[in-house]
Symmetry: C2
Subunit: 134 residues, 2 copies
């Protein structure tokens, strides 16, 4: 049974589940910031997944990349498996724009945060869901 | 023809070329920090690669991950496509240890730097080369 790490659960909203990964939206409106979590127990590194699971994860990263590009036309996608704090394997996918908070630094260097309104959050999740189910 | 971005060229040493990616070692001994660059012109995002190229890139990331794990037994691998500064597609692969500079922050937050001696650099590149050609 897969259980989402409590810190990831606290800091995100649920968007949808793809075949392998749970797609989460970070509760931080400073940047459009998704997190993909392979729904498998006790995975820390990408290479802890089987070859088949890795292939599926890359396909889902591609799918989410294309959704972010179609919705937001970002200047750069940042895709990263860090996991120094939360060890459960998760992939950050951040749509960056020239001039956004901390640009061109990483979101971790910038450390900015901003709140979504309920309406903004719900609208963005609805648009993400639709783009991922086209 | 593939040309390595001049900033990447200036800040790294060449380790070897895999079928798709050039493997580079960052000139920063603060962390064992490799950079993979798909040897294709005008690629910025992972999704700019063809499906076949993406598959090959993930296989090479897996290969480099296993080499870093076998050589260094890191506490965490950080694998990231950022590219906000250097737009040529490149993947950072950093072997992190609990208590290393800036831990558990990212290498971009920490901003540490340290110099390799010539001997250290040559020995590490030799060991990486051997681990990638086993």
């Amino acid at each position: 049974m897969f259980t989402l790490d409590p810190q990831l659960a606290a800091e995100t909203w649920h968007v949808c589940d793809l075949p392998l990964c749970r797609v989460l939206l970070a509760k931080n409106a400073a940047w459009p910031w998704l997190i993909l979590v392979p729904m498998r127990e006790d995975k820390v590194e990408i290479i802890d997944l089987s070859a088949v699971e890795q292939g599926e994860m890359w396909r889902e990263i591609e799918k989410v990349s294309r959704a972010l590009r179609s919705l937001l036309a970002p200047d750069k996608l940042n895709v990263a498996a860090i996991g120094n704090v939360v060890r459960q394997l998760h992939i950050h996918m951040v749509a960056r724009r020239v001039g956004d908070p901390g640009w061109p630094g990483t979101v971790w260097s910038a450390g900015a945060s901003a709140a979504y309104s309920v309406a903004e959050k719900e609208e963005f999740i609805d648009r993400l869901y639709a783009a991922l189910h086209r």
